[in-house]
Amino acid sequence: MISTLKGIWTRYWGILILLAAWQFFVSINNINSIVAPSPQAVVLSLINNADYFAGEALRTTLTASGGLLLGLLLGIVIAALAWSTPTLSGLLMPMALLLRSIPIVAFVPIIVRIAGYGTHTVLIVTTVLSFFPCYVFALSGFQEVAQVRKDFCRSVGCKTVGWRFFRYVAMPTAVPNILTALRVLAPTALLVALVAEFLIGADGLGYVMLRARSDLEMDKSWAAALLASVLSVAFFALFSWFDKKYRSNWQA
């Protein structure tokens, strides 16, 4: 029992101290709950509005993962086209590199202006965000086939361009890269979905944060923020686990 507690402490002391500091900060300054709610108030708000929060969280999660998967699919398909057509990859690479250093959030309002206000825009935003990293990771994965494997394929009469090589060799070679892309992108996809909801006022946790704040329901706003954080951590943990589980099968 004591050793379990000790284990929890060595692993989670940072988070525990953070929580304690929060409670301490609120009670010592005798802060009005309109400025900053206490941890209990936030947890109570979560429990009392469990149905409401669960619905909004589900909505955000679905749009974020939907956008992530769409971006992934699009990234893989375009990367496959670029792989088979060097001219296309030459044209797309500078753009992909440029877009990598783009502050994505600056473009969310632009996409909103183009696509309008609504959940579909949140989906588009997360898709666009996910597309380029997925494209870059997938393409470099396709191109990473070791020379010795290419030689082997040629020796059995399979050219290193074309469908059979892609299906049996290039595509599987790219799997670890795609797993990495997913792991890295998962929390970002959630962030961008929240940002879009926040800006557009589309239903979801992002909007809850915004509306509760303007209604001065700080406990609710913070509860949404906390829930979003927990979701994001869960997303990251899930994809890291997935990555770890399958990556080892790619080491010869």
Binding site: R11, M95, R100, P109, R113, I114, L191, L194, S229, S232
Partner: protein, 249 residues
């Protein structure tokens, strides 16, 4: 030959994008949301808008730079403290994974209360940078060859001295990688932070122009943010190449 070919690819790629954009804007394929590139450019070089854009960009750049410096310092220090006092390490790892996973936007309310609306952009930028640098530094420490560790242990070197003389130099290339990634994150963090009631900056400009249908202003601001972030990235990449060559790595 290859440099020239790469340059050509870049030129062709970028000009294709620009031409495509111009046509799409003129034909209004995406409605009013995508103006022609020439229109955006003409708008941006009007003295009044240039002044506004530069002032906002300056504020965001300041916020991002402070955030970058603070975030990378804290990130490096915390990663080092885990090396000096081992028991801290695991808890630090969990904490920073958690902090990284927290969507920046969820921290808005917290930041406003703790550091105030004025300093929120700096704080969000610092947080964004912190994690990139922290993770990169930790990764660098992981890669210290065991032989080096054994040598310091065999000589009974003090922890902090071993850190300074052996671990830190080994982690440096990875740390610089983290800084490179962090610099574009800093711009992103600053813009996002400015949405929470900051008085001025690119972030403020972007949101207000979105709400007021000032499409040209919106695009100009977003492009300036991108150029800023890309320029900082390439500057650091250049610095990295120089430094690594100097260190013989």
């Amino acid at each position: 030959m290859t440099v020239a070919a790469d340059l050509l690819k870049w030129l062709v790629g970028i000009s294709t994008l620009m031409v495509f954009w111009e046509i799409a804007g003129r034909q209004a394929w995406l409605g009013g949301g995508l103006p022609p590139l020439s229109g955006v450019f003409a708008y941006a070089i009007e003295p009044r808008s240039t002044e506004l854009l530069l002032r906002s960009a300056g504020i965001t750049a300041t916020n991002a730079s402070y955030g970058f410096v603070i975030g990378s310092l804290i990130g490096t220090l915390i990663a080092c403290s885990g090396q000096i006092w081992r028991p801290l390490k695991q808890g630090l790892d969990t904490l920073s994974t958690f902090v990284n996973a927290i969507p920046l936007i969820a921290l808005g309310p917290l930041m406003i209360v703790t550091v105030g609306e004025q300093f929120t952009p700096m704080a969000t930028a610092a947080l964004a940078v912190f994690f990139a640098v922290f993770v990169a530094t930790l990764g660098g420490f992981e890669r210290v060859p065991n032989v080096h560790r054994d040598v310091t242990r065999a000589y009974g070197t003090a922890h902090w001295r071993a850190l300074l003389l052996v671990q830190f130099p080994n982690a440096l290339p990875s740390l610089i990688d983290g800084l490179k990634l962090g610099v574009s994150t800093a711009v992103l963090g600053a813009i996002l932070g400015e949405w929470f009631g900051a008085p001025a900056g690119l972030g403020v400009l972007i949101v207000s122009s979105m709400q007021n249908f000032q499409i040209n202003l919106l695009w100009s601001a977003a492009i300036i943010g991108t150029v800023m972030s890309a320029a900082a990235y390439f500057l650091l990449a250049l610095l990295q190449a120089r430094l690594l060559r100097r260190l013989g790595l």
